[in-house]
């Protein structure tokens, strides 16, 4: 299971990469594997404000439709429209080209509610296959 260092993770298997006050958000390798082939991504509108752990996007796979929750609160600056046309990016490169949204982070201290790579690895391994 690929869990890069330096990112923050949620129990719902989203990641956020913090760059100054901008957070790039996506789903983890565990999540893309559990979902199976992604067939459709519904992205949020830019400019809207999301709260931590509230719905950000919806991902449909051959198995199910799943809500993706925002790891941080803030305003959505940019969404990755590439994954709308090529949802397979989420399966192929979930930490790079398969990112979902960039968020202007409102409160850096919210990362205290998230896990680092080591903690997330332990959490995900506890869930089994």
């Amino acid at each position: 299971m690929n869990i890069p260092n330096g990112l923050f993770y949620t129990k719902e298997h989203e990641w956020v990469k913090i760059d100054g006050d901008i957070g790039t958000v996506g789903i983890t390798d565990y999540a893309q594997h559990a979902l199976g082939d992604v067939t459709f991504v519904e992205l949020p509108k830019t400019g809207i404000v999301v709260k931590q752990f509230q719905g950000l996007a919806t991902i449909e796979s051959v198995k199910a439709a799943s809500d993706i929750f925002s790891p941080v609160s803030g305003k959505i600056l940019e969404v990755n429209s590439k994954v709308e046309n090529t949802p397979a990016l989420i399966n192929q490169t979930c930490y790079q080209d398969g990112w979902i949204a960039k968020i202007k982070i409102k409160d850096r201290s919210e990362t205290n509610n998230l896990m680092d790579a080591a903690a997330y690895k332990k959490f995900a391994e506890g869930l089994g296959e």
């Binding site: 559990a34 082939d37 067939t39 459709f40 449909e60 051959v62 198995k63 199910a64 439709a65 949802p87 397979a88 089994g128 296959e129």
Partner: protein
């Protein structure tokens, strides 16, 4: 198989039109005519007959094979009720008749069916009144949540949330959201039931309703309903019963007695009317008497002289939910089914549905993981996690393999809370021989997952089309109209 369009040859015809013996009218103005000829297949009558007969022979249905599609209750539809629904006295009725002068007299039989069906469903479920209008189960859910909203509006209750357990049918949260509520999902506990401690935490004054399915989608009976009802009612939240699984408890318990306020039924699941595209569906909604004033119009009413008429007056009604009286002929089939089986017969259908599911569970639980170690109700859920570990054989591969054995795959990857779920609902109509055959095929699939996983991963092999690329089908849908 060739498309009928591929069989087309210029000039070939099924029918020959007689020579016109009326004067030709003026040509249509150019702007109304087609710019190029309509593309219809040019084929002979025999080719048409052969084409559609061969297509129909590739149909898969309960009438041809075992169809244990969990949660969907693909039960056999007895043919006698189809015959009844074909009677001219029913098929040639016009839905406007009851409202026309002297039309009432011509529709007494149909109105009596609707009236009696409402009484029967009240008796079966313990509710006080029913509407027959909703055209399907999810339509019934929406109607039910709208009734709940009407109740809170009338009481000036400011409510915002609907609680839905995570084992619910996906339509529950969707219905609540469409009716204007925010949905809060309540997790299941280790025994596969709704986690009451968690529910209590979320159950504030702002909660309009709790929507429950019982038995739930794990095929387990929610044992704490009375406690849940008490808690809900203490906050003036209503308890909603998704009746999709009522076929497991007919005559054993009545949702109305357990404390449910609103309930929908799927007539095709519990009362053996046609399912899916063969429907149309019917999702009657029942309520306790405090909510009866909000039911959709019209209502069938019995006069003192035992005749029937339609009442369009109820002031607090939420209005029309569907045109006229719902899918009348479907309601008629379910009515006939209930009368034919009677009380004892209905109880036996539930007992046999539960027995059949438990037989499968008992014989397969050494081969497949189960989410909880308990007896089930009318359906059982397995996980293919063990087979995934064996050789990467997934629930999907097992489902495809069953197709080769002449069995419709069970529901897979639902309920969502079970990994690699295989959800099996045999229904009451199947014989022990059929169940044994299915079980043997499942045991064979487990054996192949260890000895020859490729055999599963490349199934099905016996179908006109082998393994479909489901991802491509979903990503590059080809919906072009011919």
């Amino acid at each position: 198989m060739e498309l009928i369009f591929e069989k087309s040859r210029p000039g070939r015809r099924c029918t020959k039109f007689p020579k016109s013996d009326v004067p030709r009218s003026k040509e249509l103005p150019l702007k109304y005519t087609r710019s190029k000829p309509c593309e219809l297949p040019e084929v002979s009558e025999l080719e048409v007959v052969r084409h559609f007969t061969n297509l129909s022979r590739r149909n898969f249905s309960v009438d041809t094979n075992f169809y244990p599609l969990g949660s969907c209750t693909m039960k056999y539809n007895p043919k006698f009720s189809e015959d009844l629904a074909k009677l001219e006295g029913f098929t040639s009725l016009h839905p406007l008749l009851p409202q026309l002068k002297l039309g009432g007299i011509l529709t007494q039989g149909a109105l009596e069916v609707l009236f009696n069906m409402e009484k029967l469903l009240c008796e079966i479920t313990g509710m006080d009144a029913f509407t027959m209008q909703p055209a399907a189960g999810a339509h019934g859910e929406l109607t039910g949540v709208m009734l709940i909203a009407a109740y809170h509006r009338a009481k000036n209750n400011k409510k915002k949330y609907v609680l839905v357990p995570d084992s619910a049918h996906g339509t529950n949260p969707a219905s609540a959201a469409i009716a204007g509520y925010e949905v809060i999902s309540i997790p299941s506990n280790e025994s596969g039931l709704m986690d009451i401690a968690h529910m209590k935490e979320k159950l504030t004054e702002d909660v309009a309703a709790i929507m429950m399915t019982c038995p739930n989608t794990l095929g387990l009976f929610e044992t704490e309903i009375e406690e849940i009802a008490k808690l809900a009612h203490s906050k003036d939240a209503l308890l909603y019963y998704d009746g999709a699984n009522l076929n497991a408890v007919l005559g054993k318990c009545r949702p109305g007695d357990l404390g449910f306020d609103v309930i929908h039924l799927n007539l095709h699941k519990t009362f053996a009317t046609p399912h899916g595209g063969g429907g149309p569906g019917s999702g009657p909604v029942g309520v306790k008497k405090e909510l009866a004033q909000f039911l959709p119009i019209s209502r069938v009413v019995k006069r003192d002289d035992n005749t029937f008429h339609l009442d369009y007056k109820p002031l607090n009604s939420i209005g029309y939910i569907a045109p006229f009286y719902g899918n009348f002929l479907v309601i008629l089939k379910a009515y006939a089914y209930i009368l034919l089986l009677g009380k004892e017969g209905l109880i036996r259908t539930s007992e046999h549905a539960v027995l059949n599911a438990n037989y499968i569970l008992a014989r397969l639980k050494n081969y497949y993981d189960t989410p909880v170690d308990k007896k089930c109700m009318h359906e059982c859920v397995f996980s293919a996690s063990r087979q995934v570990k064996n050789n990467g054989v997934h629930a999907l591969d097992i489902a495809k393999f069953l197709i080769d054995r002449g069995i419709h795959p069970p529901t897979i990857y639902f309920p969502l809370i079970v990994k690699e779920a295989l959800m099996i609902e045999p229904t009451e109509s199947e014989s022990k021989e059929t169940l044994d055959y299915f079980i043997d095929c499942m045991i064979e699939a487990d054996r192949l997952s260890k000895e020859n996983p490729e055999a599963l991963k490349t199934a099905p092999k016996t179908m006109p089309i082998a393994r479909l690329d489901e991802t491509k089908a979903a990503r590059d849908a080809n919906c072009a109209l011919l």
